[in-house]
């Protein structure tokens, strides 16, 4: 209980900071006045300047955090996450390709298609001749697919007109600049829906976590359940990519971090904690990336990358020590 309180207070603090900090500092009092009067600099900040992007950041972080936890529970490995395994780069590639070739589909659909395709490729490529599939092969193949998709995106970007290319490049790193209420509504709407879909599958998840044989013995149709969970996980990641680009490492970090802070172990609680932590990490990274260099707005992905890369290295070293690598 105390853990949840800590987590929620941290998120509330981060949201407030994100609304306060920018080119002009807004005090909480100004924001408060703006909220109730609907006029003045406080109101402008809330309604136009920082409100939508803060909410978008929180929403994107939440769906990414939940997505990472789906794969971490399913594969029982802290390295499993849509960013590490290429689903997010796949979604990013689909979006860039869509823009480059003028495909007139909504971004979330493009991202979802790319993410699902990447997941399918990773799954198929990691099947061994004898039909077995190890978690580790899956993750390594995912890293490979991730590099491939990122390279293909970069290639497409070089073929774009200069201004478009600059925007696309920025988006590919993961960016939250100039987000509108539409972005916020989109990620929160799709995210809430996917959360409901996930809630229905939580019991099956809790059994799959015990291993396939036990899960099957406890009445789970494992192939169906796993496919459902993978699709939900990929779609969650795609919902995040559609509004914020393939922001790296949020999905990887949020789950383990949230689990520790909230002190929970059950899948439903882990997913919730991961969503809150994902929002927290993303909002904080956004605040820092906006205020680190005065007058310059770094893409949020640069910040999450700076935070996440050391974590990934630490995780790899830990796994290597435990003999898992």
């Amino acid at each position: 209980m105390k853990g949840w309180l800590v987590l929620i207070s941290l998120l509330a603090g981060a949201l407030l900071l994100s609304l306060m900090i920018g080119q002009v500092l807004m005090t909480p009092a100004m924001l408060w006045t703006g909220l109730w009067s609907g006029t003045g600099p406080g109101a402008l900040t809330l309604r136009v300047l920082r409100g939508p992007s803060t909410l978008t950041a929180a929403g994107a972080g939440a769906v990414l955090g939940a997505s990472g936890t789906v794969f971490q529970i399913l594969l029982r490995n802290p390295l499993a996450a849509p960013d590490v395994m290429g689903f997010m780069s796949g979604a990013g590639l689909a979006v860039v390709a869509g823009v480059a070739f003028g495909v007139l589909l909504p971004l979330p659909l493009l991202a979802a298609a790319g993410g699902l395709l990447a997941a399918l490729v990773v799954t198929l490529l990691s099947v061994r001749p004898n039909g077995a599939q190890s978690t580790f092969t899956l993750i390594l193949v995912g890293i490979g697919v991730s590099f491939f998709a990122a390279a293909a995106s970069s290639f497409l970007v070089t073929r774009m007109p200069p201004q478009e290319a600059a925007d696309a490049q920025r988006w590919l790193v993961g960016s939250l600049s100039a987000r509108s209420w539409q972005h916020a509504a989109q990620v929160w709407g799709i995210g809430s829906l996917l959360f409901l879909v996930l809630a229905v599958q939580v019991r099956a998840m809790a059994l799959l976590e015990l291993g396939d044989d036990l899960a099957a013995g406890l009445g789970v149709r494992i192939n169906r359940a796993r496919t459902g969970l993978i699709c939900t996980g990929v779609l969650l990641a795609a919902a995040g990519v559609a509004v914020a680009g393939p922001v790296p490492f949020v999905a990887l970090m949020a789950g383990p971090l949230g689990m520790r802070i909230a002190g929970v172990t059950q899948p439903g609680a882990r997913l919730t904690a991961a969503a809150i932590t994902g929002a927290l990490v993303t909002v904080l990274a956004d605040v820092v990336s906006r205020s680190l260099v005065p007058g310059l707005q770094l893409p949020v992905g640069v910040m999450t990358g700076l935070m996440g890369a050391p974590y990934l290295l630490w995780l790899l070293m830990k796994e290597a020590e435990a003999g898992e690598l």
Binding site: G131, L210, G211, D213, L214, G217, G219, T265
Partner: protein
């Protein structure tokens, strides 16, 4: 009672062939597991004990033949309905990080719970009884990671007890345990069998313990079934030689009178 009625009551195999791809592990096996009794599957490493047990729980589809539960082909039973009738504990399961004993055992109730139905008094009672049956009532809130090997094994058994099925399959529930804990686990399964009439099927490696605790033995060898029947008939010098290539003496156990194996 005719032969047919006996096999209709419980678990049986009929011309069962099990294979991994082209590698046949069990060929044309027909046998009946006596209902409401304790049965042990014995045999050397790699002879197909786990494979047979998994097929009995429908975790592996047969390459030929059938597994029947109560006369029905097990492949035709609805997944959840099967999970309410038969539970399986696989060889060396792995617990999720940090999970408590109580949380683990609660997951055993899943087949009995409706789609969105809340946790009921009945569920709580069954879990409490399962924990008490394995002697972990006091340690329910402990994390599995903090338990000894024997306690951990008993937590897993509590999980399948909470599943509340009339048939219980366990793959090597006593491996890694010291002798006292092996006896403890087998006694607990035996008292479950005696008190609830649960049909228990275990894969075991210790011949003497199997002979002591089982009503019925299935002895597999490198090339298929060697013998099946009550311990007195199965544990013989010839059968041990055929299954294990083991030269041994079989004498009555001084404590129970069951057959006891003394290797040369």
């Amino acid at each position: 009672m005719t032969e047919n009625e006996v096999s209709d009551a419980g678990l049986s195999t009929e011309a069962l062939t099990l294979a991994y791809r082209d590698r046949v592990v069990i060929r044309d096996l027909s046998l009946t597991v006596p209902d409401r009794r304790m049965t042990s599957i014995l045999g050397p490493n790699g002879c197909g004990k786990s494979t047979l047990l998994k097929a009995m729980a429908r975790l592996i589809a047969p390459a030929g033949g059938h597994v029947r539960l109560g006369g029905e082909d097990i492949g035709a039973i609805d997944t959840r309905a099967l999970a309410r009738r038969l539970a399986i504990l696989p060889q060396s399961p792995k617990a999720p990080e940090g999970i408590t004993v109580a949380d683990l055992v609660r997951r055993g109730r899943t087949p009995w719970r409706g789609f969105l139905s809340p946790w009921t008094e009945q569920d709580a009672n069954v879990c409490r009884q399962a924990l008490e049956a394995v002697g972990l009532g006091e340690l329910a809130d402990r994390s599995i990671d903090e338990l000894s090997g024997g306690q951990r094994q008993r937590a897993w058994i509590a999980l399948v007890l909470a599943q509340d099925t009339s048939t219980l399959l366990l793959d090597e529930p006593t491996t890694w345990l010291d002798l006292t804990h092996q006896l403890e686990v087998l006694s607990l399964l035996q008292s479950r069998n005696r008190a609830h009439g649960t049909t228990v099927v275990c894969v075991l490696h210790d011949l003497n313990l199997a002979a002591r605790y089982s009503d019925h033995l299935i002895l597999l060898g490198p090339s298929g079934l060697v013998a099946v029947g009550p311990p007195g008939e199965v544990v013989t010098v010839e059968n041990l030689d055929a299954a294990f290539g083991l030269k041994a003496l079989v004498v009555p156990d001084p404590v129970t009178g069951c057959p006891m194996v003394v290797p040369h």
